[in-house]
């Protein structure tokens, strides 16, 4: 089986072709991030406009990359993200996906964006051993998910307030580093002293939920008490975020039997988090799946992979379906 995956939930327009065996045949991503930087966040109207302009060329490039004829691609389904995300962005991908499915006479598969992230490691490690404990961290989400296998997963914990990526953005704004905040803080932190600033460690309990909203105010308070270099603030903040994420990962590893740990989502490109996760996996003697940054961030390949899972289970979408901007993982 061979599936076209379409992703337009936020600022990335993604299209990819994945075949049985998690064989990635093409993946194309166009981002409108450059248009959002000055606004300090993704502007829904800008994102929606960008998707309309890029959806056709992106799908065309993905089909061509897989060596498929746009008129007779011989696909088995079109999979598309229908939530969660920005409704105006989701609608563009869904409208296009429905039209391709009608024209090619193939079924439509509706994919939860977060479930898509869980399958990203398969694109680089098709034979990976399950179960996998996945830390899904992005600008909009922070969740700890036990993936028993394709289509079988359970959310063990999630943030009770801000997403990890959101905390990065807030601290970066305070430091005047621009948007999005992850990459500049990661770069700055490399030259800073994480101990120059004492930050409280939140959520020391036994639960597997996360909390990041207090961290930003703590950074501001501590920074105002003692003037510290921006690099030190970045290092201390990043240290506190990574410490909280890996502590919960460690607690979860003590409770469930898994074959590997994985990172997913935009924050999974963070070098400190990758290093800490790799060390933790080594300590527990399990595999570490750290997808290349291209598969950590939003892309069509992970949606195509999820499409294969659902197509295999006969789980097809109603052609009259709509988008669900608040679709929770597992709901």
């Amino acid at each position: 089986m061979r599936v076209l995956g379409i992703e337009t939930s936020c600022d990335e327009t993604g299209a990819a072709v994945v075949a049985t065996g998690w064989r990635l045949e093409s993946s194309v991503v166009e981002s409108s991030m450059d248009q959002h930087r000055d606004f300090g966040g993704v502007v829904p109207e800008l994102a929606g406009r960008a998707h309309v302009a890029t959806i056709g060329p992106t799908v065309r490039a993905a089909l061509a990359g897989a060596g498929l004829d746009a008129r007779h691609p011989g696909l088995d389904a079109v999979a598309v993200t229908t939530g969660p995300g920005l409704v105006g962005s989701l609608l563009v991908g869904l409208a296009a996906a429905k039209a391709y499915a009608l024209a090619w006479g193939v079924p439509l598969v509706a994919v939860n964006h977060l479930e898509g992230h869980l399958y990203a490691p398969l694109l680089e490690t098709p034979d990976l051993a399950w179960p996998v404990l996945t830390l899904l961290v992005s600008g909009g989400h922070t969740q700890l998910v036990l993936v028993e296998g394709p289509g079988r997963f359970r959310v063990l914990g999630e943030t009770i307030d801000d997403a990890a990526g959101e905390a990065y953005d807030k601290v970066a704004r305070w430091l005047g580093l621009g948007y999005p905040g992850g990459p500049p803080i990661d770069a700055l932190a490399a030259g800073g002293d994480p101990h120059a600033l004492a930050l409280p460690v939140s959520m020391t309990g036994e639960g597997l939920d996360f909390s990041f909203s207090g961290l930003k105010s703590a950074v501001v308070r501590a920074g105002e008490r003692h003037p510290v270099a921006a690099a030190d603030v970045a290092a201390a903040f990043q240290g506190a975020v990574v410490e909280q994420l890996t502590r919960k990962l460690r607690q979860a590893l003590g409770r469930v039997e898994v074959a590997g740990v994985a990172l997913a989502g935009g924050v999974a490109a963070n070098r400190a988090l990758r290093a800490a996760t790799a060390a933790l996996a080594a300590e527990f003697g399990v595999a570490a799946h750290l997808p290349s940054p291209a598969y950590c961030t939003d892309n069509g390949a992970m949606i195509a992979a999820a499409g294969l899972v659902h197509l295999g289970a006969g789980d097809l979408a109603d052609p009259a379906c709509g988008a669900d901007p608040n679709w929770a993982l597992g709901a």
Binding site: F39, V43, P44, E45, L46, G48, R49, H51, V52, A53, I55, G56, V59, R60, A70, R71, V87, G88, L91, V92, G93, L94, A95, A96, A97, K98, A99, Y100, A101, L102, A103, W104, G105, P319, A320, C321, G322, A323
Partner: protein, 222 residues
């Protein structure tokens, strides 16, 4: 076969031309464009005993109008054209309204008025005599300013469009004015208007910069 896609208002409608025979279908009136559009196209094709491979040309209304509706219509048209090899042709909501008025026997000065939301309309002037001729470019303005422009002029005028319903009090104050309320631009008029027009890439016609929309959103927030 030629397909027309109409999503510039809260309504979603389509039209299918098979030779001289044209059928229209209203799919929804309540902003459910993404839900109903493609299933509606499939059903209309099936009724004609055809499938999408029979499409040779796709005419899409690129606005101005409801932004989310336009994006659904244009994205659908782009995908259908790419997947079938059909030609892609754009019309504007304002010219389709003008063509629809002409088809209903309206002559002389005409202003097509599409609800632009945020207290504004998208408008364009036309002269309807033997042909439908645009007299200016589509623009965005307050309905009151549109009314004042015509009230000071005084020539008989017909206002046509979904904006006529929403802004009846402003536009109705214009002397010598007639209102033709059409809740959506008719796909049959889009098919007629697009006849012989060259195909090419299509982009929605927004008439407002996206950052202006973003600022509106910020300002509207309580």
């Amino acid at each position: 076969m030629i397909l027309a896609i109409e999503t510039a208002t809260t309504a979603c409608a389509i039209g299918l031309a098979d030779g001289d025979r044209v059928v229209e279908a209203l799919l929804a009136e309540d902003r459910r464009h993404v839900e109903v559009l493609t299933p509606g196209i499939g059903a209309l094709l099936a009724r004609a005993g055809a499938d999408a491979s029979a499409l040779t040309r796709i005419v899409v209304d690129r606005g101005p109008g409801l932004y989310t509706g336009l994006r659904v219509g244009v994205a659908t048209a782009i995908a259908l054209a790419d997947a079938t090899g059909a030609e892609l042709v754009a019309v504007t909501s304002l010219e389709v309204y003008a063509a629809a008025a002409a088809a209903r026997g309206v002559c002389g000065a005409l202003v097509a008025v599409v609800d632009g939301r945020r207290g504004e309309v998208f408008a364009q002037r036309f002269a309807l005599d033997d042909e439908v001729v645009a007299l200016d470019a589509p623009r965005v303005l307050r309905p009151r300013d549109l009314a004042i422009a015509w009230a000071t002029d005084g020539t008989p005028v017909t206002f046509v469009g979904d904006g006529v319903v929403r802004y009846a009090s402003d536009l109705g104050a214009v002397p010598n004015a007639t209102g033709l309320a059409l809740a959506w631009p008719p796909p049959a008029s889009a098919l007629a208007r697009a006849a012989g027009r060259a195909s090419g890439p299509v982009h929605p016609l927004y008439l407002r910069e996206a950052d202006a929309v973003a600022n509106f959103t910020t300002r509207d927030r309580p």
